[in-house]
Each structure stands twice: as structure tokens, then as C-alpha cells.
Symmetry: C2
Subunit: 218 residues, 2 copies
Amino acid sequence: MNTLTEENYLKALFNLAGENGETNVNDLSRHLGIKMPTVTSMMKRLAEKKLVHYESYKPIRLTEKGKKEAGLIVRKHRLTEMYLVEKMGFGWEEVHDIAEQIEHIQSPVFFDKMDQLLGFPKLDPHGAVIPDKNGKLAWIAYLRLSDCRPGDTVRLCAVVHGASDFLRFLNNRGIRLGLRIKIKSVETFDASMVLAYENRTETLGATACERLLVEKIK
Amino acid sequence: MNTLTEENYLKALFNLAGENGETNVNDLSRHLGIKMPTVTSMMKRLAEKKLVHYESYKPIRLTEKGKKEAGLIVRKHRLTEMYLVEKMGFGWEEVHDIAEQIEHIQSPVFFDKMDQLLGFPKLDPHGAVIPDKNGKLAWIAYLRLSDCRPGDTVRLCAVVHGASDFLRFLNNRGIRLGLRIKIKSVETFDASMVLAYENRTETLGATACERLLVEKIK
DNA sequence: CTACAAAGTTAGATGACTCTAACAAAATAA
DNA sequence: TTATTTTGTTAGAGTCATCTAACTTTGTAG
């Protein structure tokens, strides 16, 4: 079994891995708020345990084993977020920090029960895919709202980096998953977008638009 | 804030404290499965933090501060057990180990929500009192079944040391909280009791009878 | 009252996880 | 291609939580 700390490194590796599945010490260090030398030594430990491929000065990749274990932690995290929202009445902006702790609970029956009570959900409250019981993550290729054009009509499917301040920002503007949004215009100088939805019009900055994942409605 | 380990020591001190509120290094050591020297050094740490009264070779007592913090952990444990049984459908024999982990979650809103969804319960699924939001535990003076006599009729109110094997033993005999039990007879040689309840008759050994807390029905 | 047993403490070591300071390699810019 | 910046590693130290071995204090049984 892995320590709580090792689990956090695994999850970070899982979340930071881009398309090529690679990360580096520096990103890991900043993402975890842990100094680089500490990360280096942990990478050696995880390599010993066959959880990562690691060679000095090279990019880091999870092994299949590591990917599975990380995926299962992410599964527990997202299942928990879903449970907190659906069964306990929390808002989507409140659940991250709680799930961050509950994801480390060692009890298969506990998470199986959540899964069952939720009806085996595929997505968490932020639209992220919940890995399956083997830790496998099904990828869905959404568009970023910032990549759409004036005139497009889209449906909001997910938010990336669901930090609570961003989610409260969305709450304040009545923006939630499933919302149908029409792009009225895009400012050329700062890429902010004027959006129409539910009889209202709002302007969103580029940063916000990059974090909203959508699909086009024909 | 206290570490996870410190929390476990506090809880052990809380649970082991008898009427006089005292414990000793040896009991703590055995209860936690940790060697005595380790316990001694932790007592020094907790004393530094004003959580226990500790002097070499003397019995150990929680301070008021320690008692409060310990009570709040026990509160989280028992609320969780209640939630797992009432809202998630677990059996009373399944919940201890899960609650043992969830009790360390740092999130007041999470436990407040449980409390509210449960309707502010006073007792956990094993009949133990849930400490209030100040960590204060209301004592209820039950009788042990083993202290009753043939002819007495009692109601089962709580079980002590609710280990899962004991609880499964009770499940197998249809024994649960609230059950009305009549004592038919007591064997003199081993103190086992013949009990009648719900149209059945069962013989329970002395160990089991000591762990069943009851109140007399006139 | 002595001797033995039980309980408790001290000393010293280990592993996990973290840090800072100093050095080395790789990437980038001039 | 050399100099500079960024990234990464080594070395050494500290804290937390644990252990074993050796010693001390307290309690108890003859």
C-alpha cells in the first residue's frame, strides 16, 4: 500500500500529465507546493515501487501500475464530489476540499456504496469523467468556449480547474453545466466574449472562457 | 492543529478514561498497539500542548482542552457511524472501520451537514451517546445485562466494544437495539443466561451478557 | 522487608517527509 | 558558441512517529 503522501504525488502526476503523459519535477513541485529536492527524492521512491518511469533530468511518466492506482484515487475523489452534491446538498464550489480528504479513505465498500446510491455516474459535478473501477479514464474531447466564434451556440459540459472562487464567479452569473449559450461577439483586444443565455447577456474574460468546456449545438 | 496520530491518542485517552478520568501508559500502549516508550514520549508532547496532565510514573488525565478536542473527534466518529447506517444502508457491524478514518476529516460543514440530514441524533447505531458540539458527553447509566436476574424484563439500549465479530454474533441471533428481552434463568457455573425475546429462546455466554447494556422495564 | 514482577522511562536508532544551501545539467538568448 | 536562466540533483539537517535494549520506579507476594 502507498502512504497518503505517495497518493498525493500519484494524483498530481495523473492530473498534470498532458497528451504525451509526461510531467517534470518543476511542475510537480509547484502544483504540490513542495520544493524540488523533495520531489526528486519522492520520484526515486515511486520508481523503486514501479509506479513511475524516472531517470535523472528526464520527463516523468506514470507506469501502467501507477496510472491505475492514480486513476482509482481520482475515481474516489470524483465519486465523492458527486455524492456530496447529489446526496448531501453541497454546492459544486464546496466539494473539492472535502473530497481531497475523503479520496484517501481505504474502504472499497464505502465507495461502491456511493457509486450504487448515485446510480453509477459517469461524470462528476464539474463535468469531469469518473475513472472506471480499473482506474481507466475515458477521454471526451470538448471544445474550449474560447475557441468558439460569434454566432456559435454551445452547451456547457465541464469546467476545468474547478477552484471554488471560479465556481462562485460562475454561480453569481447563473452559469451551470448543461446551460445553452450563444456567443454574441468576441472583443478583439482582450478576447473577452459577450454571451447570451437564459434571457441575459454577460461578458466573460478570456481566462474564464478558456476554463469552460463546451460542445456545439447545430 | 493536531496531527492524525495525536488525534488517535486523544481519542484513546477519552475512551479509556474510567470514572475517575484516569488512564496509564500500559493501557494506552495495548489499546493503540504501540509500544510503551512511544506512548511515553507522546504523552510529553501532549502535555506540552496542554492536552493532558502528565507526570512521570503518574496516571494520565486529559485536560479540559484535551477532553474537548477528544470529544469532538468522538462526535465525528459517532455521527459518521450513524450516517453510514441511516443514510447509506450499512449494517451496524460494518461502520466502525470506515468511521475510524472519516473522523479525521477536517471540515466542520461536512459534519454539520450529516448532523442536519440525520435530524441531530443523540445516539449512534450502537447506542453510544454522541458528544455535543462542544465535545461534551452526556452520560447515561445503563445496567449490564449480566447484572440482571432471572425474571427481569429489559430493553437493549446499547452494546459496548462494538467489534464487528460481536455485532455479527448478535445479528445471527436477531439481537438489536430496542429489543425487549426476558431473562429466563442464569447458569450458576458460568453465568451464561437463557433469554427469551420475540418468540425465541437463546443462551448467551457471560462475555456477551457483559457487553449488552439494558434498562429494566417494570 | 526483601525480592520479584509489572509498569514506566531513557537512550539511541530508523524510516518517511520535509527543508535549505550548494552544485550540475539543460535550455535559451545574445 | 558562450553566457545566462531555468531546471534538476546532492548533501546535510530537522521533525514526527515508531522501534529495541537497557535501566528505574512502583507495587506486591512471600
